[in-house]
């Protein structure tokens, strides 16, 4: 019944000995990696707990009132969870029976699929749609007791109200101070810092998100606390000796994948005449465009059954030149484009986007990456800003007269 989330290493570190002793005395059946207290081991109503065999002193431990209240609360919660879990299991079996599947091997994925099939729902927000999930996934996680039977907190930062969070900041500061001292030592010894350690590669990962940090500390923290955390971390990570603390820093970073690995090229197709081509769609502003690229070609351009003179303004021809120039395929491919809606700027942008995607089919990975780096494979999200009520335009206000 216990939660599977591991206990963070920073949890109650200064009082680790005391905590472990308590764990052994009060909850001998559980191992240490527990975040919620299970109530079936607490003797409700009993004022004292008998000591275990390996404890020499025979003195009974008095339980404070707050501890008692806490235990009752935990017990109530556990009972609730028990019934919820039982309900969940029954519901799952019912669902399996309805779907004609084996209830024992019915997984969570099957449950989701069954609900989507049985209760189709058009609500936009996915959280508003009906669901059946393990109660431990839905109910928020709770922290274990943070104080002794006498009411003394385990954690030395208990009175900051978010000890885990401040403990992280504390760690960062000490590590940074350590690095600074090391740097000073190296400087005094006239050693080269860059030879001592390589700069930390922080490009391949990013800081954990606000929600991830919240889950890590299991405390109520604000957005500004998260920003504080990021600033502190940035300071640590940008230190020239930061790679000495790589292990610590990487706990708070998510790995990023190479963007080039995610590039997909449209397939090369063959038309009735036996010419190989690829096609793609693109959008910009309100415009839409579809581009077919034929290779080999002679550099002909057809836009809406006209040639490049479809754009009388040279600016838009230069726009179309961009991907061709990057790929070096100018004069080697034929382009047939259809553009609809919007104005010339939007249409030129849409054609450029579609063209770059279609060209990907004929170029090497290297050039594909170059296209990406020049921003050709990004859809331009900028749009016309809406007019607001009570003012003349998107930003412009009505002329204001005093009277």
């Amino acid at each position: 019944m216990a939660l599977s989330s591991p206990l963070p290493t920073f949890f109650c570190r200064p009082n680790r000995q005391l905590y472990s002793r308590l764990c052994l005395t009060i909850f001998p059946a559980l191992n240490r990696k527990v975040t919620t207290i299970s109530s079936d081991l607490v003797n409700g109503g009993n004022q004292s707990v008998t000591k275990s065999d390996n404890q020499p002193s025979a003195k009974a431990i008095t339980i404070s009132r707050s501890m008692k209240a806490y235990m009752e609360k935990v017990k109530k919660h556990d009972e609730l969870m028990k019934t919820e879990v039982a309900d969940y299991e029954i519901g799952k079996r019912h669902l399996a029976n309805i779907m004609g599947a084996d209830p024992d091997t019915f997984t969570q994925e099957d449950v989701d699929r069954a609900i989507e099939y049985l209760l189709p729902n058009g609500l936009f927000d996915k959280k508003a749609r009906p669901m059946l999930k393990n109660p431990y996934e839905i109910y928020p996680k709770r922290k274990a007791a943070e104080f002794t039977f006498e009411g003394r907190p385990f954690h030395w930062l208990y009175f900051t109200t978010s000890p885990n969070y401040y403990n992280i900041l504390y760690d960062i500061t000490w590590k940074l101070e350590g690095l600074k001292t090391l740097e000073d030592q190296l400087y005094n010894a006239k050693k080269d810092i860059s030879s001592e350690s390589k700069p930390l590669n922080i490009a391949s990962s990013e800081w954990i998100t606000f929600d991830q940090l919240k889950n890590k500390v299991l405390e109520k923290i604000q957005e500004k606390d998260y920003q504080h955390f990021i600033v502190m971390m940035e300071r640590l990570a940008s230190h020239p000796l930061a790679s000495k603390e790589e292990e610590f820093i990487m706990q708070y970073r998510n790995k990023l994948h190479l963007a080039s690995a995610a590039l997909i090229a449209p397939p090369v197709e063959t038309d009735a005449d036996g010419r190989s081509f690829s096609w793609a769609e693109g959008r910009r502003k309100d415009s839409w465009a579809q581009v077919k690229v034929y290779k080999p070609g002679t550099g002909q351009v057809t836009i809406n059954e006209k040639d490049l003179s479809y754009f009388s303004n040279l600016l838009y021809r230069e726009t179309l030149l961009f991907p061709l120039s990057v790929t070096g395929l100018l004069g080697q491919v034929d382009i047939v484009a259809d553009a609809k809606y919007g104005g010339p700027t939007g249409q030129a942008g849409a054609i450029r986007f579609a063209l770059s995607q279609a060209l990907c089919a004929f170029v090497s990975d290297d050039i594909k990456e170059q296209l990406r780096l020049s921003g050709m494979l990004t859809r331009d999200p900028r749009k016309r800003e809406r007019k607001k009520p009570g003012q003349e335009g998107a930003r412009k206000k009505f002329t204001w007269k005093k009277r």
């Binding site: 490049l308 040279l314 021809r317 230069e318 030149l321 120039s325 100018l330 004069g331």
Partner: protein, 403 residues
């Protein structure tokens, strides 16, 4: 694709490779002493862009795509008012009056040369996209036949006679319901006199013309006198034009004159101009071109009622109303009326630049330091310029202005 084309250029221009022009040698040192421009490229074979055959009478298809120089006297003489202002300014800056030999020009000159002048006049209509170089071909033809001693009657821009802000329009003294353009008439007389200096001595009137009670021109008055009269009494300038044209028509056969009639934008003679600057009479009624006496007189020159002459016209999109410019073919631009008036004629398409011609122009610009951008002198840059200009000669000039 490209090397093949280049090789063709090479084979065609091989004969010119070894004749080193003084200007080519000059251009090298030009580029070298520029601090910011790129190092001069080694003289390549495909950079050949000029021919030493400066006499248009000797131009053949071998010279197509190459530049030849026109002497200043002809630019200021027979070709005055006929060169586009931008083109003239460019030539002045280059200090060299260079023009390209185009294929339609060579073709047209060949046709005219082989025409049997005893038949009623043949008519040629040049058509093509805006900026394709129709007017430049007229220049080539005019220069060529001026050297052969032909009489040249040219209208540099017929659109000028159907539009104008606050232009003076007066009722015709000769016929009611027709309108004179005194200033335009006088201008054309001066233009005609300038173009045909020294060729008008033999021309004398064959009938008597009475302008007013006191002023008249007796039989045998030299044409030059009539021109002078039209220029001083501009009220009668349109009538003078009519007289001159009539006399030329009548006497071409007898005197053995060879006459070349050149009208740029002939569709202005047949289509109603409806824009704000259209010519209006005193009753604010927009004038139809046939009501204007100048146009009425010139239309007669285009009818096959006389011999010993050739008419060359162009049709321009710019002389049609804004909503009538979808196509550039003579039938569309001349409409029914104009087409019937000119039919049968020889249509000659003026295509946009071929790759060779475009490269030749760019090389010519580079030779004259017009393209300063270092990238514009590379092969890749040249390709990009051609792509953006879409092979259109005027667009090519526009693209190169800011480089």
């Amino acid at each position: 694709m490209e090397p093949v084309v280049l090789r063709n250029i090479v084979s065609r221009t091989l004969s010119f490779k070894f004749k080193k022009s003084p200007l080519q040698g000059f251009s090298k040192c030009k580029a070298r002493c520029l601090s910011t421009s790129a190092q001069p490229q080694p003289e390549k074979i495909n950079n050949v862009c000029r021919t030493h055959e400066n006499d248009p009478r000797n131009h053949t298809l071998d010279h197509v795509g190459l530049y030849y120089t026109i002497p200043v006297e002809e630019i200021n003489g027979v070709l005055k008012n006929c060169v586009h202002p931008w083109h003239l300014r460019l030539m002045n800056t280059f200090n060299e009056y260079g023009m390209m030999v185009r294929k339609p020009a060579v073709e047209l000159n060949g046709y005219i040369q082989n025409v049997n002048l005893n038949h009623p006049i043949p008519r040629f209509v040049l058509y093509g996209r805006t900026g394709a170089g129709k007017a430049s071909i007229l220049l080539h033809t005019m220069q060529r036949f001026h050297r052969d001693g032909w009489l040249i009657l040219s209208v540099p821009w017929a659109g000028r006679w159907v539009r104008g802000w606050y232009k003076e329009v007066s009722e015709s003294t000769y016929k009611a319901g027709r309108y004179d353009l005194p200033t335009d008439g006088a201008e054309w007389l001066a233009h005609f006199k300038h173009q045909n200096e020294g060729k008008l001595a033999n021309l004398k009137t064959t009938s008597e013309y009475i302008w007013t009670k006191r002023e008249n021109a007796a039989v045998g008055t030299p044409i030059e006198e009539i021109i002078n009269f039209g220029q001083t009494r501009i009220k009668f300038s349109s009538d003078c034009v009519g007289v001159i044209l009539k006399e030329i028509r009548n006497q071409a056969q007898t005197l053995g004159l060879k006459v070349l009639v050149v009208v740029n934008a002939v569709n202005a003679f047949y289509t109603q101009w409806n824009q704000l600057n259209a010519l209006k009479n005193s009753g604010k009624k927009k004038l139809h071109p046939s009501e204007i006496s100048l146009i009425h007189n010139f239309k007669k020159m285009l009818t096959p009622t006389w011999t010993n002459g050739v008419a060359v016209c162009t049709v321009e999109e710019a002389c049609n109303n804004l909503n009538e410019r979808e196509n550039y073919t003579p039938l569309y631009l001349l409409k029914q009326e104009g087409f019937e008036a000119l039919d049968p004629f020889v249509p000659i398409l003026v295509p946009e630049y071929t790759e060779k011609e475009a490269l030749s122009t760019i090389n010519y610009y580079i030779e004259h330091n017009w393209i300063q951008n270092a990238h514009g002198r590379t092969e890749e840059g040249k390709k990009e310029i051609i792509f953006v200009s879409n092979n259109n000669p005027f667009k090519l000039y526009q693209v190169c202005t800011s480089l």
